[in-house]
């Protein structure tokens, strides 16, 4: 059996929009190994984010199969997909998306609680301290800078030690210095824990630091 974290086989994704069929992904196939760091690049609307959503089980494909750790997920129901998401996947968004009325620590703890892991406050505190946020534990997201918010979001994504990290333009809303910090955190974690990191980015400099680049254009893989 291949040691694959993610496998897309002939995956198509279509939407019906005002009686018009919009083909977002057109019969794409690729795979990502368990400890591989891959960047997905391509112009806007090429389907990069759709790949992240499909991998996370948040969107249903129109055709093909998607495998996560050799398990086909496209026929699973919402609850089974949620289980896979909390056990194997950590997601980092471009806009951070922290819950506004929870503190930094509470936001991170929420990911543990989603996984039925309770009373691990020290574990969450340690991770946030590791990310240089020891002085921000009880601050609400609105009281944090963009870079700090993204570091909290990364801590939240990594607290469950996911085997797959999906990062959708994680540096899109932060300055250059914070971008470097964020990428370093993600790369370090991935290498240390032998996790797959799928990084959607427009930044070729960041993409070039990855093990492999998947380039999309018009919903097709043009480089893998």
């Amino acid at each position: 059996m291949k040691n694959l974290a993610i496998e897309f086989s002939n995956v198509s994704l279509n939407y019906n929009q005002s009686d018009n069929l919009v083909e977002v992904l057109k019969n794409i196939s690729f795979s990502i190994k368990a400890d591989e760091i891959v960047s997905i690049i391509g112009p806007s609307g090429s389907g990069k984010t759709s790949i992240i959503m499909l991998t996370a089980g948040l969107e249903k494909i129109s055709d093909g199969t998607i495998g996560i750790h050799n398990r086909v997920i496209n026929h699973l129901n919402e609850n089974e997909l949620a289980s896979i998401r909390r056990q194997h996947i950590g997601i980092v968004f471009q806009s951070f998306y922290l819950i506004p009325n929870l503190s930094a620590l509470e936001n991170v703890l929420l990911a543990l609680e989603a996984n039925h892991k309770y009373g691990l406050e020290d574990h969450a505190k340690n991770l946030l301290e590791e990310f240089g946020l020891s002085h921000r534990l009880h601050h609400l997201p609105g009281e944090l800078s963009g870079g700090e918010q993204q570091r909290v979001a990364i801590a939240r994504a990594l607290i469950n030690k996911p085997s797959i990290i999906l990062a959708d333009e994680p540096t899109g809303n932060i300055d250059e210095m914070n971008s470097e910090n964020v990428i370093k955190l993600l790369f370090d974690y991935s290498k240390k824990n032998k996790s797959s990191l799928v990084l959607v980015t427009h930044n070729h400099e960041i993409a070039n630091q990855c093990d492999r680049i998947i380039e999309l254009k018009g919903g097709r893989v043009v480089l893998s």
């Binding site: 984010t49 959503m53 948040l58 506004p100």
Partner: protein, 433 residues
């Protein structure tokens, strides 16, 4: 164990969320509180009134047994027989004109009482003890009047009024009497002694006369055999009516129950209307939470867990408001006592009862369920994909076949539950229909 941990998590999350979002939820608090408080007050006052009537049923009737023989008095033979069972008190009620010089006349309900009256309770007067003066046999016949007559004739104690051309001296103002009737509270009412009624031959009041006899049974711990015995030798005469304390209180209780039933229906209707407000506020609250819910879903929370969190929040609000409403509702008899006319001689008391609280909570729960289910189901419509697209669409109440069926079952349950609590079942059913 894991369910317990999950419950603890839901509890913690919900409590924290309520605390941090109180500004968005206070309308639900207030709406639920007001509607449950109204219901609680109505239930509490109704219960305490019924209790008061039940415990004072003998005072309300004025004896263990009341025998009304209409315009003719009972024969001496029957009176003798009845008297064997205990102390008998005779009263004559009649309606006639009472007048005062230069002040005109008013149609008055007069009760002529003997010295044994009342067998239970007492006549409260101002000045105190004036009722004793009725039987002193002074040269001037005495009368006790209620406040209505006093006000209309501008009477003071010692003034004279005229009944069927006979002068009576006012000895006191009646504050309350046992076996009360409407005239005492709302109309003109006076008491004279039966001796004077006979002495002055007021029997000329004719068909307005109404002879009543009340009996206080000797061994009144078990009055039933005596009552049955008396009934057995009176039953042949259909013009004679017999009432027990239970019969006497039943009419009043029925009247009270009907009135409070009407109030309960109004109150439940108010809860239903409040439910619409709760539903809208809750939907608006969930709409404010779309981002949080989408994040929770992206983290792997089941929709069911998220629904449970928000349902638990509503339950907590219901729990808090129902306890507050019930506690404050318990105080309503104290407030009601201020407004109940003293002449009714009613002193309402409250009693703590878990069942009463449960009743209130259960009605609140059904209403909350009915009006929050469409909102809770709409949580299913919130997708974590919004976080990637940065587009958050407002959600609306969600109605599927399943939840419509559930809502119908809950509504029927609420209506049936309410119908079974009332005496007027058909009326209540049609009201809801």
């Amino acid at each position: 164990m894991s369910y317990l941990r999950e419950f603890y998590f839901i509890h913690q999350y919900a409590v924290r969320d309520i605390k941090r979002n109180f500004k968005s939820l206070w309308i639900i608090f207030i709406t639920l509180f007001i509607s449950l408080f109204l219901l609680s007050s109505i239930f509490t006052i109704k219960k305490s009134l019924n209790y008061e009537i039940e415990t004072n049923s003998k005072e309300l009737l004025g004896g263990d047994l009341e025998i009304s023989s209409g315009i003719h008095p009972l024969s001496e033979e029957i009176i003798e027989k009845i008297s064997e069972s205990g102390q008998l008190s005779q009263t004559v009620k009649f309606h006639t004109m009472v007048s005062r010089e230069d002040k005109g006349s008013i149609f008055t309900d007069i009760r002529a009482i003997d010295k044994y009256y009342p067998l239970y309770g007492s006549i409260q007067t101002n000045p105190k003890g004036s009722s004793q003066t009725l039987f002193l046999g002074s040269s001037n016949p005495s009368i006790l009047i209620n406040e209505n007559i006093q006000n209309q004739f501008e009477l003071e104690v010692g003034d004279n009024i005229t009944i069927l051309n006979k002068k009576f001296t006012v000895q006191g103002i009646i504050l309350s009497v046992p076996n009360l009737d409407g005239a005492m509270i709302f109309g003109e009412f006076a008491i004279i002694s039966k001796n004077e009624f006979e002495k002055f031959n007021l029997t000329s009041a004719g068909s307005f006369l109404d002879y009543d006899y009340r009996l206080k049974i000797k061994n009144n711990e078990n009055t039933q055999p005596q009552i049955e015995k008396i009934k057995s030798f009176i039953n042949d005469d259909k013009t004679i009516k017999i009432r027990t304390p239970r019969d006497g209180s039943q009419n009043l209780r029925r009247a009270i129950n009907n009135f409070f039933h009407f109030l309960s229906l109004v109150s439940v209707s108010a809860i239903f209307i409040a439910g619409i407000g709760i539903s809208n506020t809750f939907l608006s609250f969930i709409n404010k939470k779309i981002l949080s819910i989408a994040i929770q879903k992206s983290l792997g929370f089941f929709s069911r867990t998220i629904q449970l969190i928000y349902f638990y929040e509503i339950l907590l609000i219901l729990f808090i408001t129902s306890i507050l409403s019930y506690s404050l509702g318990l105080l309503s008899p104290i407030i009601a006592n201020i407004f109940i006319p003293a002449s009714l001689n009613i002193d309402l008391q409250f009693t703590l009862s878990f069942l009463d609280y449960f009743n209130l909570f259960f009605i609140g729960l059904l209403v909350v369920l009915i009006f929050s289910i469409p909102t809770l189901y709409s949580i299913n419509l919130i997708k974590a994909t919004s976080l990637f697209r940065n587009v958050f669409q407002q959600i609306n109440l969600f109605f599927s076949f399943g939840n419509i069926l559930f809502l119908i079952i809950l509504s029927v349950l609420l209506i049936v539950y309410f119908i079974f609590q009332t005496d007027e079942k058909i009326y209540t059913f049609f009201y809801f229909l």
